[in-house]
């Protein structure tokens, strides 16, 4: 069984499906009177967050607590990191405290891969730079499966700031593994042609209106201002007009198609408020599914013999 979860590319189809199956069982816990399982009693999970995050950190925290693990939240702000401590020294400190798993979010791509060498426990990548965010891809594919019955054979359009999006990268990799067809859509500055090499069958498109009639899933991405050091498009208004998902564009979608967004949303930029709140939107489900999927990942990585 796998020990770390660093990249969506590390997951083969049977493992991803196993995580989906376990997540479906974990989801039933949320509907019970006692929302807790004793499974990871006595295990310690450290949330090591070098970047701001509400949803992912809280999601991992709830997931670990529902499995009865002890959770330590360590955020770079207000910690020894601000006094100049390196990732390696922080890792050794956590190791000395007996962390069974470290959930890490870091602005540098590849930081979780380095961390693996410095701690004995499992490492879960909760987002590293513009690289990967594998649990997001697992929860997104889980959401597709629960809404549309299957992932294999789906046409998935991922629209927006693909260049800076670890969500897009992890999703494109996992969707390929699970047999879905991915089209990356956005302005050429944010979806450079090099993305055609991400997986053997990924496609790149620049016209959202041409892609929508074929799409079973539209995944809208946030434009990541904080990672941009140049002008990637002329104006927000123009971006929204050419790539934003509004009610008129939603009407071009097949009736069964769903609208996804990993959050946080910029309402009125990449997605219109009435679209985000429509029955097609899975945005709230994605948050709930995130807890179930992360419970499944923690169980798979920590549940067995260490």
């Amino acid at each position: 069984m796998i020990k770390h979860l660093l990249s969506a590319a590390d997951l083969d189809a049977p493992t991803a499906t196993l995580i989906h199956d376990i997540a479906a069982e974990m989801a039933t816990v949320a509907g019970r009177e006692v929302k807790k399982l004793p499974t990871l009693r006595g295990r310690t999970v450290v949330n090591l967050f070098y970047e701001d995050s509400t949803r992912t950190r809280t999601s991992f925290e709830v997931a670990a607590k529902r499995l009865s693990a002890d959770v330590v939240n360590f955020s770079a702000k207000g910690s020894s990191v601000e006094k100049g401590e390196s990732l390696k020294d922080t890792a050794w400190t956590l190791q000395a405290m007996g962390a069974d798993a470290v959930v890490i979010r870091h602005p540098a791509s590849g930081a979780p891969n380095r961390l693996v060498n410095w701690v004995h426990g499992s490492v879960l990548n909760a987002g590293d730079g513009t690289h990967e965010h594998p649990t997001q891809a697992l929860l997104d594919t889980y959401t597709m499966r629960s809404r549309l019955g299957t992932v294999a054979g789906l046409n998935v359009a991922i629209v927006g700031d693909v260049l800076h999006s670890r969500v897009a990268r992890s999703n494109a990799l996992l969707l390929h593994t699970l047999g879905a067809k991915v089209t990356l859509v956005g302005p050429p500055t944010l979806v450079p042609p090099v993305f055609e090499t991400l997986t053997p069958d990924v496609r790149v498109g620049y016209d959202i209106d041409a892609v929508l009639p074929e799409a079973d899933v539209v995944m809208m991405l946030r434009v990541q201002k904080e990672r941009m050091n140049a002008a990637f498009f002329p104006s927000w208004h123009e971006y929204s007009r050419r790539y934003g998902l509004d009610a008129a564009r939603v009407r071009r979608l097949p009736d069964h198609a769903i609208v996804m967004h990993p959050g946080p949303m910029n309402r009125g930029v990449e997605i219109a408020p009435d679209v985000a709140d429509s029955p097609r939107s899975t945005i709230v489900e994605q948050v709930a599914n995130g807890v179930s999927v992360r419970m499944a990942c923690l169980y798979l990585l920590l549940g067995g013999r260490s």
Partner: protein, 180 residues
């Protein structure tokens, strides 16, 4: 590996008939009973008992399934196990008389885990235990209320219950030698 057949198909039928009658007798007609099969082979056994209770006294009995993987006390001694399905019947278990159904009663640890799971799922009025085979060697103070057959065994021996629903045939075997 060499094995001895302890219960053949007809024996299993008779034993389940008897347990169903005992349940009806002990629970005054099984009116408040919920049968919960412990995965894997407790599930078809619970369904068979419900069919018999219906046939004998026209009493429909809710049947559910209980997977105790996440409540095991030996999780960190094995590689990670897949998680099975847990499904309570509509109406739940609160205030009902829950009868846990399993194929073999051995150390008692599975039943201990099932009792823990139950207390997280609701508050039954009473919990009872029905097993097809009791092979002894208990490690916990647990006993069954309904026993199909008591089989004295050595620790190294293995009791295998085969059921049509899961294995294609109805048979209980006693195998010599050391389990994996």
């Amino acid at each position: 590996m060499a094995y001895k057949v302890i219960l053949a198909e007809t024996d299993i039928h008779r034993v389940l008939d008897r347990i169903a009658h005992q349940i009806l007798e002990k629970t005054q007609g099984a009116g408040d009973v919920v049968l919960l099969g412990i995965a894997t082979r407790g599930v078809p056994l619970a369904q068979r008992l419900a069919e018999r209770i219906l046939a004998f006294e026209q009493q429909p009995t809710p049947v559910g399934t209980l997977d105790i993987t996440l409540y095991r006390d030996d999780l960190n001694r094995h590689s990670t196990r897949a998680v099975g399905h847990t499904e309570l019947p509509t109406g739940g278990i609160d205030g009902r008389r829950v009868i846990l159904v399993d194929d073999v009663l051995f150390s008692g640890r599975t039943v201990r885990a099932a009792l823990d799971a139950l207390s997280d799922l609701g508050r039954p009025a009473a919990v009872q235990l029905a097993v097809l085979v009791d092979r002894g060697h208990r490690q916990l103070p647990i006993r069954a209320d309904y026993v199909g057959k008591n089989i004295p065994t050595a620790l190294a021996e293995q009791v295998r219950v085969l059921l049509k629903e899961t294995d294609g045939t109805d048979e209980v075997r006693l195998t010599e030698g050391t389990p994996a």
